[in-house]
Symmetry: C2
Amino acid sequence: MSAKPDTREEILKTASNMLQLRGFNGFSYGHIAEVLGVKAAAVHYHFPSKTDLGLALIARYRERYGRWMKDAQGLSARERLEGYITIYSRFLQEGAKACPAGVLQAEYQAIPEEMQRETRRMVQEIHRWLTDVLEDGRRKSEFAFNGDGSDKATVVMATLQGALQGARALGKECFQAAVRQLKKDLGV
Amino acid sequence: MSAKPDTREEILKTASNMLQLRGFNGFSYGHIAEVLGVKAAAVHYHFPSKTDLGLALIARYRERYGRWMKDAQGLSARERLEGYITIYSRFLQEGAKACPAGVLQAEYQAIPEEMQRETRRMVQEIHRWLTDVLEDGRRKSEFAFNGDGSDKATVVMATLQGALQGARALGKECFQAAVRQLKKDLGV
DNA sequence: TTGACCCCTTACTGATTAGTAAGTAAGGTG
DNA sequence: CACCTTACTTACTAATCAGTAAGGGGTCAA
């Protein structure tokens, strides 16, 4: 693919890591610049304000989720759920990262309004997708659960998000335990 | 009870609100002082460093949890679980507050080491208690679930924590939905 | 009445923050 | 060759941050 170093992309990668590890208010332009070996003003060149950077990050997450969902369209409900869970286990493997949506929701009142709005969009999108997967899977007897598909989607999202955070205090096994239990509760 | 204004306690209350709404890195001594109508240095008088304040906050949460657990000792497993859930719904009622443990875990890498340690202690304590409640309840046929009690406790904690955060993006119904589903999955 | 203690203020420090402005080196294009 | 654009740098501002030092007013006890 692109051979050039592409500082813009490096900034987004670094900022994404820092967001998931430290929260949006837990890193500065200086921190990013230091990692990349440039000056803070270089980061401002690509993302004039921190809100711009935050919005670009969320847009990037949404694109990735969107692309992933499109690619998974042909798969069975079970495979789609499995893939979804894998996204989160990868976060954990990459050094106890939390889920971006979880972090942004945790410090929701302390992020710019535009970021709140885009965070809402992102979460709602994932929730709709997951509701569909669960209901589709139940129709086809891939899953077994009582109650509303939307409620179950909320639980699955909340559990993965919470377990990823819980892994900080209870250890990484905590996430595997949650996944194990989650599958049991879905009759998988 | 105590008639005197007790600034120390007012600081803790205000800081607790801000922690649960904005995260530990989302408020400053200046913010607290402003709310209380004092100067930032007055906050430093009671809590020399922000780490001191953070540790006092966690200690306060642990005391409250501890006292509550002691009070609930006589109750049935079902009642204890119900009470535990009520703690979280109250957070939600008090203006979309998140769970303190959840917030601290979300920005885990961006809080002082001592606070990380105390956060771990707090979460482990709650986890142990909840494991006990769930296993006790299953023995007495108050709950029905498959798998390890510890795993189930992880799921319950993660779900409540995640759902409280999810309420920011998906609305407050999200929490009730999660609780509804959680109870279904426990055969309640 | 003296003094000591508590709780706060004023006034500061130095670091870090986001953000801006001006300049510059390198690379392509007419 | 002159001329832009891109991608930075240096150098700055103003605000905010955590934290400190010194002092002052009120209360209480000897």
